[in-house]
Amino acid sequence: MESEIAIEYKNVTKRFAGNQYDSVKNVSLRVEAGTIVTILGTSGSGKTTLLKLTNRIYDLTSGDIEYYGQSISALPVNEYRRKLGYVIQQAGLFPHWTVAENIATIPQMLRWPKDKIRERVLELMQMVELDPDTYYSRYPRQLSGGQQQRVGIARALAAKPSVMLMDEPFGAIDALTRENLQNALIKLQRDIHNTILFVTHDVQEAFKLAHKVIVMDKGEIQQYDTPYNIISAPANDFVRKLVSTGDFYDKFRVLTVTNLIEAASAEEIRTGPRISDQTFLNDALGEFLRRGGEYLIVETEDGKIRGKISYNKIRQLACNGVSK
């Protein structure tokens, strides 16, 4: 089935005035609706520029960007931006507004009725796991960095944007909190099925969150594919070097069981222990170590059987490296 395209880049190039080089160079790719796409690259590779071209903070030098098939340059800029959530590293919350007022920014702009705004704020606070009783009336300075970023995400989600743009939103947050936020984001996206473009320079983060990863260097796309495909078949030396850091276990923490699923017999399905198809390989491995068996049955969120994953397959992967 052909899925809907939320954002399409067509030969997108950006050169800033006074620069001798392109910050984004001839980028063409499609972002499918309802997926998380991460943009991975070292500092200065053009990730932020690509994102800011997407919400028209920067103007294109050449090429075109389409939002659900419409050229974004033809859309009224502020109305278009309100269809995109935007979350940046320092959260950028309004310090003189309470958490609730911050989250309500766009609904207030759109003049929703007061009751509806309140209801939506409460709903969003639950979604990003902030207790309304405690935090509703607090000010940003009274929150930790991680909590501020949760408010930033809630604020961006308020008017149900179809696409979220996130620029290193967890970049300034300690490792443990970052992992919590990553898990919260994955869960949230699975619930509401929005499209997320997520910029990061952290390889682990990029692979863990993504359905597909855009690897960028010097303004150019090096590879655009699923985490599994990128790790198992890097397109060039740059990508190979990028994904070869760390041991196999690092990769197991960011790859799900999905790519190793095999057909299962009726007997196996009846008796085998179940795991979710969203399970990361390291957790699946842990499950094998705890239970001992030869295989686990993989099912979707709503209980559909997708097949089995065998201990041997994981072992092979660990021994041979993820690369083919």
């Binding site: 919400n55 903070i57 800029v77 502020n78 109305e79 278009y80 931006r81 309100r82 995109l84 935007y86 979350v87 940046i88 590293q89 320092q90 959260a91 950028g92 919350l93 309004f94 310090p95 003189h96 507004w97 309470t98 609730a100 007022e101 309500a104 920014t105 766009i106 207030q108 702009m109 007061k114 705004i117 309140r118 704020v121 009336s137 000010y139 940003p140 300075r141 009274q142 930033g152 604020r155 961006a156 743009l165």
Partner: protein, 214 residues
Amino acid sequence: MIRYLVRHWDDMLYMTWQHVQITLLAVLFAFIIAYAVAMLMYKYRFLTMPVNGICNAIFAIPTLAMFSILIPVTGLGADTAIVTLVLYNQFILTKSIYTAFTGIAPSVIESAEGMGMKESQIYREVKLPLALPGIMSGIKMSVVSTITMATLAATIGAGGLGVLLFQGIATRNWNQLLWGVILSTLLALLASTLLQKVEDYTLKKSRGEGSGKI
């Protein structure tokens, strides 16, 4: 001293009123001009250097020299005094208004733009409330220093509390001189205390205090 007060209280009250008038008019005009200039600098950053240079240069002109430049144009009296004070105040006000706006965290403005807030809305609801403490602090400094500088207005017949000072010195009337010192100091203190309160209030608002609207 008390005798002087009893005999001249009505004159002194009038001079205080004159002094307040000169100060308020000067700061009002100065603020309007400085605000416009600061907004231009904020929008076109390349203006910052030349504008600061001009303000520094004006501030460096001695008051009496400034008076003698202006008297041929605006004549003896309050007009010249006010124009002089307006010019001097650009030094304090343009800088403080400009830095009040540039001091706002870029991430706050970037996310406002990214969310599709209109420029006018960003200005009204985000930038202005966050810049207000800095602006108020500039107004406070400007009012206090204008009260002090305005005593010189008496030398060109513009009246104000400076009259007590200069007449007191000229006629060696120490009572009169002392009252001049006391009144101008009290006026400055009063203004600075009041404006500090306002500044504190805007500061509290801008960093997030009190209860929200929803």
